[in-house]
Amino acid sequence: MIFFYTLIFPGVLFSLVVALLLDGINRKVVARMQRRRGPSLLQPFYDCMKLIKKDNLINKDARKSVFLSAPVIALIFACIIPCFIPIFKHNFIRTSSDIIVIIYLLAIPSVAMILGGASSGSPIASIGSSREVVAMVAYELPLVLAVLSVTKAAGEQFPGGVTFSLANIQMYQSMYGPLIGEWVLIPAVIAYLIIIPAKIGISPFDIAEAETEICEGPLVEYSGIYLMSFKLIQWIKLFIMTSLFIVLFLGGSGVSTGIVGVDLLLNTLIIIIVSIILMFISVTFGKVNMGRVKSNQLFKFFWTVPTILSLISFIFVSFV
C-alpha cells in the first residue's frame, strides 16, 4: 500500500498532474490579465513531453555526478511530501510530528537546486545559487514562525500545549471551527500567503531564477528532462504549500458521504479548487502586478513585514 501512496495517489503521479494543471491555469490567467489570448491549458503537458524527448547536454566543466543527481533527488523529495498531508481524515503516512518533517522536506528541493547550480560550472548559475541561499534564509524564518503559531493555537487542548501533528490540528479545527476565523492568526495567514511566491520562486520574489536578468539562474546549464524536473518542482511545491494552508488554517476539507472512495475523490477535488483560488490570490496577482525585487530588498522585506506579522501572531497565541 505504501508503494501505491508514494507512486500513484497522493505521491508522484497525482502531484505531477496537479502541478502541471496549476501551471497551465496560472499561465492562462496571467495572459488574460495582460489582455492576451494565452496558451492552452495543456501547454505545460506539451512542454514536458517535448523536454523528455530532447537531448541532454552536459557542460564539460560540470561536476557530473552532482549535476545529474540534484534534479532527481529534488523531484523525489518533492513528490513524497503530499503523502504527509492528510486529505479529509486519511493520513497516508502517519507520523507524530508531520509539520517538522514537511518543513525539512520542503527545504530539500531548494538545497538540491543550489547544489545543481553550483556544480554546473557556469558563473551565471553560481550567481543564481547564491541568490537562492539568500532567498532561503529570508523566507524560512517567517514561514516557521507562522506555522508555529498555528501549532501553538491548536495545541492548547493537547499535552504540552503544542501539537506538531496535522491530524491533531485538523481534529481541533473540526471541533472549534477553522483557525482562520480567529483574529490572532490573521497576521500569520497574511505572512503565509506572502511567503508562497518566494518559496516557489515566482515573480516578484524570483531573484534566483530571474529569467531576464540571469537567464534562470541555477537552471541555465540544464536541458531536456533535468530541466523539466526542476520546472515541475516549482509547481509541486505550490500545491504542497496551498494544501498545507488548507489543513493549517481552513481545517482541511470536510465533505463526508460515508463511502471512503467517494469521500476521498470529493475532498481531493475541493483541495484542488481551493488551491487554484489560493494560487490566484498569492501567486498570479503578484506576478502580474509587480516587478522583480532585488535580492537585498527581498531580504529586508522578508525579515521585516512577514516576520513581524507572524511574530505578532505567535506572541498573541502564546501569551494572551
Binding site: R36, D55, Y222, G224
Partner: protein, 142 residues
C-alpha cells in the same frame, strides 16, 4: 499527444541594427501574442528549440554565434531573420562583416525584409515548428 505546440525561442543578435529585434519582440506583446502557440522566449540556449539569428554576421559576433548555436540541443531549427543574414544587405563588402549566415551554419528557414513584418515572422515561426516536428520524427536530419 501532439508535440508541435511547444517551440521555445532563443534570440541571437550578430551585429543587427535592432530593427528586426524590435519587430520580433512585438510578437510577444498582446497584439500578436505568440504565447498562444506555446512560444516562449528563453534566456539560455540550452532550453531552446528555435534559434532566431538577426544581423549580418560580424567578425566579432561570428565565433560567439557559432558557440551559442552549438549549445542548443537537438532537434533544433535555425531561422535567419531579416535581409542581413541572407545577403548582408547594406553592410555587404564591409571589412568587418563575414556574412551571409549560411556560410557558417545550416539555415532551415529565412524570413526576408528590412525589417520583416511581424506577420511574416509569425508565418516563419509556424513553418519552423513544422520543420521541427519533422526533425523530431526523425524523417531527416540536416
Amino acid at each position: 499527444m501532439r508535440l508541435k505546440k511547444s517551440p521555445w525561442i532563443y534570440h541571437v543578435n550578430t551585429g543587427s541594427c535592432n530593427g528586426c529585434d524590435i519587430e520580433l519582440l512585438a510578437l510577444l506583446g498582446p497584439h500578436f501574442d505568440v504565447e498562444r502557440l506555446g512560444v516562449k522566449l528563453v534566456g539560455s540556449p540550452r532550453h531552446a528549440d528555435i534559434i532566431i539569428v538577426t544581423g549580418p554576421v560580424t567578425t566579432q559576433a561570428k565565433d560567439r554565434m557559432l558557440r551559442v548555436i552549438a549549445q542548443v540541443p537537438e532537434p533544433r531549427v535555425i531561422i535567419s531573420l531579416g535581409s542581413c543574414p541572407i545577403s548582408c544587405n547594406v553592410f555587404k563588402g564591409s571589412y568587418s562583416v563575414e556574412g551571409p549566415l549560411d556560410k557558417w551554419v545550416n539555415v532551415d528557414l529565412q524570413v526576408g525584409g528590412c525589417p520583416p513584418k511581424p506577420e511574416a515572422i509569425l508565418t516563419g515561426i509556424i513553418k519552423a515548428v513544422e520543420i521541427l516536428e519533422r526533425k523530431r520524427e526523425e524523417e531527416y536530419y540536416v
